[in-house]
């Protein structure tokens, strides 16, 4: 039993790192722009399809697809920002409007993927040897270890961007008080576009990673990932990208360890119970702080 629990914790940590990436992307966009990106999961699945196309038509491995997908999706996000987001500021309730707008984008992207790729589940094909490693009695699938390492590197890079660069500090300042940022002479529009690009880029790259870890993906899976993203940022704290990672680890470990004792559906329910309990104890999430608007 002890080995099974340890196995659950390890699985949870690995999955949590990927869930964390979903939450970090979602949280960067929400924190800086106050845009509820309901289409985050669809962008993620679209990233998986791009990796699939790169493999089929260019013969590129998923590892090459990671940086390419990130750059392509950052560009898409940057351009999409100017098409979609500035209009929201004219609304009396931009946050609700953003939710509805991105919900529409989510449906549109799902339909486009369905048209382009059909409803069949697809999977990325690649070979990794050895397939798994053993740590005592704990099984460590090699690809999951690799994606864990990649996720950690990506989160570290995002943390460096946010905490170690001047642009990142300005992004964090916008999360805290957008008006005060404008008052010191910073043009928030371009920074907001950078944040949106980063969020969409992270969604794309997370899509490639999920396609490497999970057996298949289809146009219908976007909502599932969006839901996980929301659970994670509610746990960690809205607007706090680092909190999203911690929230994701907690959620995934709870889910995986619970799955050791019960069936996987109960494991998922336990993850949601954790979220509800967190909201009761800390309504702003574990790392959430009140922001001035």
């Amino acid at each position: 039993m002890q080995d099974l629990v340890l196995q659950g914790i390890v699985n949870g940590l690995i999955l949590g790192a990927i869930y964390g990436l979903i939450g970090v992307g979602l949280n960067v966009i929400f924190g800086v722009l106050r845009v509820v990106n309901f289409a985050h999961g669809e962008f993620l699945v679209l990233g998986a399809y791009l990796a699939l196309m790169l493999a089929q038509y260019a013969g590129l491995s998923p590892f090459w697809a990671l940086p390419i997908t990130f750059l392509v999706f950052c560009l898409i996000g940057y351009l999409l920002y100017f098409v979609l987001i500035p209009r929201l500021s004219k609304s009396n309730d931009p946050e609700t409007s953003s939710l509805l707008l991105m919900f529409g984008v989510s449906i549109m992207l799902g339909a486009i993927m369905l048209l382009l790729f059909d409803a069949d589940a697809r999977s990325l094909e690649y070979e990794i040897e050895p397939v798994f490693l053993m740590l005592g009695n704990i099984i460590l699938p090699t690809i999951r270890l690799i994606t864990l390492a990649i996720s950690i590197v990506i989160v570290a890079l995002v943390a460096w961007l946010l905490y170690g660069t001047l642009t990142g500090k300005a992004l964090r300042a916008i999360i805290m008080n957008r008006d005060a940022v404008r008052i010191v002479g910073i043009k928030t529009e371009r920074l907001a576009a950078v944040a949106f690009a980063l969020g969409i880029g992270l969604a794309g790259v997370t899509g490639v990673l999920t396609a490497m870890v999970f057996p298949s993906f289809s146009p219908f899976m976007g909502n599932d990932y969006t839901l996980i993203g929301f659970v994670v940022i509610v746990l960690g704290g809205l607007g706090n990208p680092v909190g999203a990672l911690v929230g994701a680890l907690l959620y995934a470990v709870t889910e995986q360890v619970a799955s050791v004792f019960f069936n996987p559906s109960i494991g998922t329910i336990c993850g949601f119970v954790l979220m509800v309990a967190t909201i009761f104890v800390r309504p702003n999430g574990l790392f959430g702080k009140q922001v001035m608007r």
Binding site: L166, A170, N177, V184, G185, K187, M292
Partner: protein
């Protein structure tokens, strides 16, 4: 330097600012006093772009900046503080000042040197690695002043800098504000209810009442103006 001409701001049927005009020469401090609701803060908001005036003009060095966006007004050289300070609470003091220099094109070393200079000036250097939220209200006002000064503004608009500040910090604020025109080539518009500080610091004083200028002149002129005595200072 800074000039406003016939500045008017109307919210529906309420006229908050009614055709106010004045001229602030270089390296001068203009004190603005008036009762709550007299239009002082509305006037500052119209100058720094938070509000678009209903009528009138804001001129900086003769350039019409009326209705410019807040960030563009700031880049043009007008800094602003608020009655309730708007610092970045979950950032260190150094980072607060660092962010404010984003548009100045300085290197990290240059930014650090300027930040340290201003943190020393407002006596917050020892707290430079603390989060801004850990500061008292008065210290946050000092930080906010330092944050606008690191970008070397030509004019600073100070909205109630002494409100809710303990006497020791208020004295420090007064001494720092006093140096802005002389040591930093900066003009100041100082809005305050603290008459002693206004009289002590200002070269010229404007008394506002119901959106208009009731009286103006030196401290002595204002103090002895019967209209001011009746409307604002009391018997």
């Amino acid at each position: 330097m800074l000039q406003i001409q016939g500045l008017k701001k109307q919210f529906g049927g309420l006229v908050a600012l009614n055709g106010v005009s004045w001229h602030l020469p270089p390296k001068q401090i203009l004190g603005v006093i008036g009762m709550n609701g007299s239009g002082k803060t509305t006037m500052l908001n119209c100058i720094n772009g938070l509000y678009v005036p209903t009528a009138g003009k804001v001129l900086l060095h003769g350039k019409d900046i009326t209705g410019w966006p807040v960030e563009q007004v700031a880049r043009e050289g007008i800094g602003r503080t608020f009655q309730v300070p708007r610092v970045f609470p979950h950032m260190t003091l150094l980072d607060n000042l660092d962010v404010s220099q984003l548009h100045k094109g300085r290197t990290a070393e240059e930014r650090y040197a300027v930040s340290v200079k201003w943190l020393e000036k407002v006596e917050l250097y020892r707290l430079r690695h603390n989060m801004a939220e850990e500061l008292s209200g008065g210290q946050q006002k000092l930080l906010e002043l330092a944050r606008i000064m690191v970008s070397q503004p030509k004019v600073v608009l100070l909205d109630e800098p002494f409100a809710g500040v303990n006497p020791g910090l208020a004295q420090l604020l007064i001494s720092v504000i006093k140096t802005l025109p002389t040591e930093h080539d900066c003009s100041v518009v100082l809005v305050s209810h603290d008459l002693t500080s206004i009289y002590q610091l200002s070269n010229h004083i404007i008394v506002m009442n119901e959106g208009s200028i009731l009286s103006q002149g030196s401290a002595d002129v204002v103090k002895n103006d019967p209209a001011v005595i009746e409307a604002y200072l009391g018997a």
